[in-house]
Symmetry: C2
Subunit: 428 residues, 2 copies
Amino acid sequence: MSEKVIKIAILGAGTIGGSVLKVLKDNHDIITQRAGTDIQIKNILVLPHEIPKLHEQGLPATSSYDDILNDPEIQIVVELIGGIKPAKDFILQAMNHGKNVVTANKDVVAQFGSELFETADKNKIDFLFEASVGGAIPIIMPLKRSLTPNKITEVLGIVNGTTNYMLTKMKEDGADYDTVLKEAQAKGYAEANPAADVEGKDAARKIAILASIAFNSRVKFEDVSMEGITKITPEDIRYAAQLGYTVKLLAVGKESDLGVDVRVHPVLLPNKHPLASVNGVFNAIFVRGNPIDEAMFYGPGAGYPTASAVISDIVEIARGIDLGNVGRFGCTCYEQKKICPLDETESSYFLRLLVNDDPGVLGQIATVFGKMNVSLKSVMQTNAEFGEGAEIVVITHEVKHKNILQAEVELKKLSCVNKIFSVIRVEE
Amino acid sequence: MSEKVIKIAILGAGTIGGSVLKVLKDNHDIITQRAGTDIQIKNILVLPHEIPKLHEQGLPATSSYDDILNDPEIQIVVELIGGIKPAKDFILQAMNHGKNVVTANKDVVAQFGSELFETADKNKIDFLFEASVGGAIPIIMPLKRSLTPNKITEVLGIVNGTTNYMLTKMKEDGADYDTVLKEAQAKGYAEANPAADVEGKDAARKIAILASIAFNSRVKFEDVSMEGITKITPEDIRYAAQLGYTVKLLAVGKESDLGVDVRVHPVLLPNKHPLASVNGVFNAIFVRGNPIDEAMFYGPGAGYPTASAVISDIVEIARGIDLGNVGRFGCTCYEQKKICPLDETESSYFLRLLVNDDPGVLGQIATVFGKMNVSLKSVMQTNAEFGEGAEIVVITHEVKHKNILQAEVELKKLSCVNKIFSVIRVEE
């Protein structure tokens, strides 16, 4: 076995922290062999009441962060607390004490990436965050290393397990939003307050990170336009299925002449798209570029498997320490690209309207779209499910977001249009 | 722009070589920025008649390998000729002249891996081969770096674009093997002599490489049991579809107490399996392990996109040269695990039989299976498509290969069994 030893500290022994501790123990031999060095846990930062439990397992523990900061033996700090406070300060303090940092914390990376990378660079240490996006899926390293030769034009992600589970259930069971949310909460796939997931904020943080790397330009959480899944209905999902589509919450990053286009919102995905078969709590990130054409990385987006991503970062740094070359490849945001305003972003749209069941209604609606420069790809009219009237379902060709907004305003003015049920982007 | 320069030589300017030259030129700025160094082509080895064409493009060229071997400026040799001779000798010579090597050559890596890695280690240079498996898909680096913390139990690959294209067409069009082969040849997806692809040899070389890395134990091409797609019929595909399966040519690597189990053969994959939606010329590698649970890497298995994988290796080495630490992480085959004999490998099986349409036939067949310790999961009987008799389709539970072979022998002895059409493994 290796004689080399690297000592680390873990901050937090919750869901991810506990998983990492277990895997470091269970897979110790295989990790040591592959890393070429023995990775040892010198200390674990927890709340005071958690210390006895760790001691019972023969693990070191402290509730004082100074014990870790001031320990010269500790070369890697693994932040697994999550959230902004106190995690951000802990990370910066570790860096300023010359310690390398591994994190799973998408919040701090998405909102404070600049400050964190500058501090890492200044202190010549490594700052790795594989587990911050896509849970266990290898995506940060592949994007930064394996895909270096590519001009990436598009990064599309199903990066939130809660909403993907819910949409999968809505499709499979025909159930409504409230029913699947309760089920997700009962299974522990959704929080008691699910807002961060169902409103798209979690996915927005992740696409900010992915887009920054893909387009070599800092994208912050605040740059991402967000829309969650709270308005998706079983009817939308059924119509989508009839037309050959699946509804997903998609995190989108694209680059064009108009700038970097970053958004999170529901989409209709063609059933043939590789992302369309990503179901349940699984995540996947799809990349389009030149010369790669298209690639996809799929796996568990959260939970116990995330330990794989965290520990792979620890091993990378351990190897770097062994080679004497940490802190050499940090932030890759060389450019300062502008963010494409939401109004200028282009997409196809699916619209579902409740209209009077009269002759000429379709013509009036088509005329409005035409005036707003919205070209129609397909139109379907059926009887309304309940009561009187008809439903019209329209799929447009690619059009600017501002044109769709204008079209919605004009459609609502028509007396024959009773309600606009849904406006959902279509990603071909 | 960077002041650092690294000079490379490319061997071969064919399909892959030409793609690499184009991408190095088209994406030069982005590659230089991300690599932190300017990668320059010092020489290109081609046949004499190809030299003028490269000179016309302003590219250097030679037909004498000594020009490259004896050039101290060249630090990376990129072997893109393919096959064994002269590629293997060229690679060894480059290493023995202290040059790092990048290859896309699955043949040499699968058959001569030991010798190549020992020579690389002896000369303290890097030997990278991302493009040798899965074309453009990042898989070697993720397996070696991102998945280090995992005990991998299973690697399953759709790693041959030719056969995946053919099986996809057979399913979509209901066409037979000969028809789709001609179509594949016309489109350039299959060779004039397609044996290496359709008989499974290409996939066998790739799984030898993947299994060696996944299980940290050298697996050679000769260790892999092979069966191609030449006997797959539209009827098999149709029955499979009825039962909820898709037929794929699967490269399988599993580890159990019986050893490392490596095979290539057609399988019935459940439609819900992530690999089942990998169609056309696309490839994918699916990994199961602890704690990762399951992950999949998907992308183009061949062609122009492969330049991404080749150049990512060149960039990795360039960074290593810059850091002064090449030749530090080579072969990861620490163990010497035995290969599980084919007879002892376990799988579920799909069998399709032509039988007499008489009472009691099903009972006789079930009895034979029972005597051979083959437990049945499902049985379906239909009228034969042509002429008299009936077809019986059986899916077994997991059973050793030797038991299925014995069952086939005993079934053929039954007078009611006229023909065993197909015996295909089922991968749940």
